[in-house]
Amino acid sequence: MTIDTGAGSRTAHPASSAEAARAPHTTAQSASSAGAARALDLLDGPVTDTTLRRYLEGIPGVDAVGLEQRAASLGTRSIKTSSKKLALDRVIELIDLTTLEGSDTPGKVRSLVAKAITPDPSDPSCPQVAAVCVYGDLVPVAIEALGAHHAPRAKAHGVTGISVAAVATAFPSGRASLAVKLADVADAVAAGADEIDMVIDRGAFLAGRYGEVFEQIVAVKEACRRKDGDDAHLKVILEVGELVTYDNVRRASWLAVLAGADFIKTSTGKVTSNATLPVTLLMLEVVRDWHRMTGEKVGVKPAGGIRTSKDAIKYLVTVAETAGEEWLQPHLFRFGASSLLNDVLLQRQKIRTGHYSGADYVTID
């Protein structure tokens, strides 16, 4: 069964226009204009509310029933034990271990980092997570606690290490002026954050002010640049629970990709409706279509509400079947999760020891 991918079919570009879309990367332009230039080609004109609306609202609606059926059918795959073992390790490698509470303390971040480095102290073969995700003010604490495991330092020793991701732009509501949001980002980047998780202005998006949302993403992307020429990776949180419809999710995904997002992320984890399999499938389709059009790879990060290994493996299947297996790498796919890690560890222990494990055998977070 195939899903009408809407935007992909509508913008069936010849190879020449795909070249044009990539062109900004071959010319020495700033990141902001790169994002804008990506868009120019699709929009047939300058990036304004009008051209964006004409494009985004011209994308055909999502076949909700088909999407949910497809997601449900991907969730029924039978995974054999040997594959499951590999899948569980991969899930761990893709986790952004997250703590985003008002009550976060330096001590809590240090214990989170300790868990990120050594998820299962009883098993040295257990891989490390991809990143820790914290509020911007706790970035220095996380970096200090990571020490030689911090990705930029670890790279010198030839290992991947663990990145530090910071949420910024008035997370989780995004209700602040652009100046405040940019200051928030600049702060986190200056503190050494390797990845920035920004939220889009859902109010502006739902009111149809697409240009404003676009400009903000472009501006934040610019703020992610460091003086040494190294970029902090930008993850754009769509907050699908507040966008309500699949059509809106598809439009917001395209908007974020056009504006230059390195990752599109489902949710903040702060509203009742978070990442679901159909929504993630929809976003993966956008990413896949973008890749077919331009050759660029954008990552996807479902976050919030993924608590069991079983669910996580369904996501792996969906990624492999939609965007392709090459997406199952930390720079293209992440899980935003906190309690998921413990469940994965319990399943790993079950496979290793042959008997069921219990919550007493993993750390309390």
Partner: protein
């Protein structure tokens, strides 16, 4: 015109719900003389795992309720059993082949045991606990606390075992605030399932008692080795390789009760309550008033 028979489906009892086995399996329950009685769900290791999750989730609420309240809840089970005497007598007659009189006596005994253990709920701590003598200006108190999740292999043989044996094994574990996963009699599981219907409609919170039907031989090793099970009552495991079950249980430091046989199996005693408690000793300053 003859009326179509409406046979009852006997299912598992996990987390306050009555699911079929995750495996989709069932087995035929036969009467003593070989006649078909019912199809019962044949629980798999994954049903056991789900039952442990449900039991673990229920520990906090059940052990946190007051001893008086637990006593009331257990007594209410006896009240409801009394109201459904006829059904339980009937099931004992059919599944175990008892005479009506013997079955009636067995149901009476089961009800009386609930009442007996219900009474202990707010009394056992006085007997097992202590105010310890100390040579200083503070109190030193020892109090029994529930162990947590208890897996029970219910008695598999004996007259009236499917009800009396079941009650005698389950009730004492509940008294202290433990939650229970019990593997019912394989040959005669009907009383256990009917009893779980009584539990579901009484005040016992979902997950406090979880009933699995099927092969104890298949399920017991998974429960014995499960790291989230805190104690193991092997009272009905005499026919299994129970030494190996004890070895498995030792891996995760479980409390274990050995198998018992004969008419006195799981006879009511304070020891059955204390077997699944931990003694906590605390000190506390004396008030200055």
């Amino acid at each position: 015109m003859s009326r179509l028979a409406v046979p009852k489906t006997y299912k598992l009892y996990i987390g306050g719900k009555f699911p079929r086995s995750e495996s989709g399996r069932s087995y035929e329950v036969l009467s003593k003389d070989g006649a078909f009685l019912a199809n019962a769900a044949q629980a798999s290791r994954k049903d056991a795992r789900d039952a442990v999750v449900a039991a673990r989730a229920a520990v906090k609420g059940w052990s946190g309720s007051t001893a008086y309240n637990r006593g009331q809840v257990l007594y209410r089970i006896a009240e409801l059993l009394e109201g459904r005497r006829a059904q339980f007598i009937d099931e004992l007659v059919h599944s175990e082949g008892l005479s009506a009189g013997t079955a009636e006596a067995a149901v009476d005994l089961a009800i009386d045991r609930w009442v007996w253990y219900a009474g202990w709920a707010d009394k056992y701590a006085q007997v097992l606990g202590n105010g310890n003598p100390v040579a200083g200006p503070y109190f030193n108190l020892s109090v029994p606390e529930p162990t947590g999740v208890v897996a029970v292999i219910a008695p598999q043989t004996g007259e009236g075992h499917s009800l009396v044996g079941f009650v005698s094994a389950v009730a004492p574990a509940l008294v202290a605030g433990n939650t229970v996963i019990v593997v019912a009699s394989e040959a005669a599981p009907l009383s256990a399932i009917s009893l779980s219907e009584v539990l579901a409609t009484s005040d016992v919170p979902g997950g406090v008692v979880n009933v699995l039907t099927g092969s104890p031989k298949e399920i017991a090793p998974w429960l014995a080795s499960h790291a989230d099970v805190n104690a193991l009552d092997l009272v009905g495991a005499g026919g299994l390789d129970w030494v190996q079950l004890q070895v498995d249980a030792a891996e995760t430091l479980k409390r274990v009760l050995a198998p018992e046989d004969g008419p006195d199996a799981a006879a009511p005693s304070l020891e059955r309550i204390s077997a699944f408690t931990e003694t906590k000793t605390v000190w506390h300053t004396k008030g200055l008033l």
